[in-house]
């Protein structure tokens, strides 16, 4: 004769192991998928100013001002183990002071079920494009790229960079700060 305790214990243990097994299947079924897609990025307006960065050092730093077009279709990335995409637009460049600079200019959260066909025109950046010094003026090689961090229901958290990128340069003169 089994006691209430042993019956309860067996039920809970069995349901937990079924749940764990299903979760593992969900994880393993999506772990080898390729999540790369193309994205079309273009800059519209590009300016650079030299203004004091009160958020950081209070010294005058280069502040980039960029508006951009973005077009991509991420519908195919979603599957049963993608809860959310965290999209971010990164500007990557080299300066005399730093070998690598990465600044996120814009980001967006797309939940499963949301519209994943994006077509933005003349968007403003969400974050300030501060350089860590004065390395933006006349910078000939700034790469804009779109990446997404996949948040699963359970599993790995891969970050994927889109195949399309856009290279632009900053003007050689500061825009008058208004």
């Amino acid at each position: 004769m089994h006691t209430v305790l042993t019956r309860g214990n067996a039920t809970v243990a069995y349901s937990l192991s079924v749940l764990a097994g299903l979760t593992f299947c969900c994880f393993i079924s999506t772990v080898f998928l390729d999540y790369r897609t193309d994205a079309n990025i273009k800059t519209v307006r590009v300016l650079v100013k030299n203004v004091p960065d009160y958020g950081a050092s209070r010294q005058k730093h280069d502040l980039g001002y960029v508006t951009f077009d973005l077009e991509t279709n991420l519908t195919n990335i979603f599957n049963w183990n993608v809860k959310q995409l965290f999209l971010y637009l990164t500007a990557e460049y080299e300066t005399a002071a730093n070998q690598l600079n990465q600044v996120v200019l814009w980001d967006k959260i797309i939940l499963r079920g949301d519209n994943a066909v994006l077509d933005f025109k003349n968007m403003n950046t969400k974050y300030y494009f501060w350089d860590d010094g004065n390395g933006l003026k006349d910078n000939k090689n700034v790469t804009l790229s779109l990446s997404w961090n996949i948040i699963p229901n359970a599993g790995l958290l891969p970050s994927v960079r889109s195949t399309g990128k856009h290279i632009f340069k900053f003007p050689s003169e500061y825009a008058s700060s208004i």
Partner: protein, 185 residues
């Protein structure tokens, strides 16, 4: 029928009374075995992942809707792996006991490999400079506890519950301990 008879406590105590010295010693040893293997697994994970805390529980809603309170994150912290923008890092700030889980949004790396970066929670409107120690503008590699690599929902809610109600924690732990010590295979 009282609770004691449902759980057959008297039978369990009877079990205990019928045990001889050798058997009770065996029970104590198997209990010690459970505790030490848990410790071994944790320390082993620390070695494999390179992180001082390979599994963390999300304690705040600052990364919602990606991570909610009680979700579990698996971390690695390999020294040779560079930090990049978009990664979710767990970092410690001087003067705060609890590590923070946020995303890197800005990064500057010098030629010699020294790197400084700024973080922000997905659900916060501003970056983390207000959370850092007074006067601190950037995080560096030494502040990192780990980078999030794996995600498991809900499981950590048990530890949050236990930390909020320590009495429940001790009750559960002692019941488990008594069960392991008294129960005969």
């Amino acid at each position: 029928m009282g609770l004691a008879s449902i759980l057959q406590v008297d039978e369990m105590l009877g079990d205990f009374n019928r045990m001889n010295k050798r058997q009770s010693l065996y029970q104590v040893l198997s209990f010690a075995m459970i505790v030490s293997s848990a410790l071994m697994i944790w320390k082993g994970l620390m070695v494999v992942t390179g992180s001082e805390s390979p599994i963390v529980v999300v304690l705040s809603g600052s990364m919602e809707p990606a991570f909610h309170r009680g979700d579990l994150l698996f971390l690695t912290n390999y020294k040779e792996e560079p930090v990049r923008v978009g990664e979710i890092v767990v970092f410690k700030v001087e003067g705060r006991d609890i590590p923070i889980v946020h995303r890197v949004i800005k990064l500057h790396e010098k030629e010699d490999g020294t790197v400084k970066f700024l973080t922000k929670g997905d659900n916060n409107n501003v970056d983390d400079r207000g959370l850092y120690a007074p006067g601190q503008l950037w995080l560096t590699k030494k502040d990192i506890v780990g980078r999030a690599r794996g995600f498991l929902p809900y499981v950590g809610i048990i530890t949050i519950f236990m930390n909020e109600y320590p009495k429940v924690k001790w009750a559960i732990l002692s019941i488990l301990a008594i069960f392991v010590l008294l129960h005969r295979e």
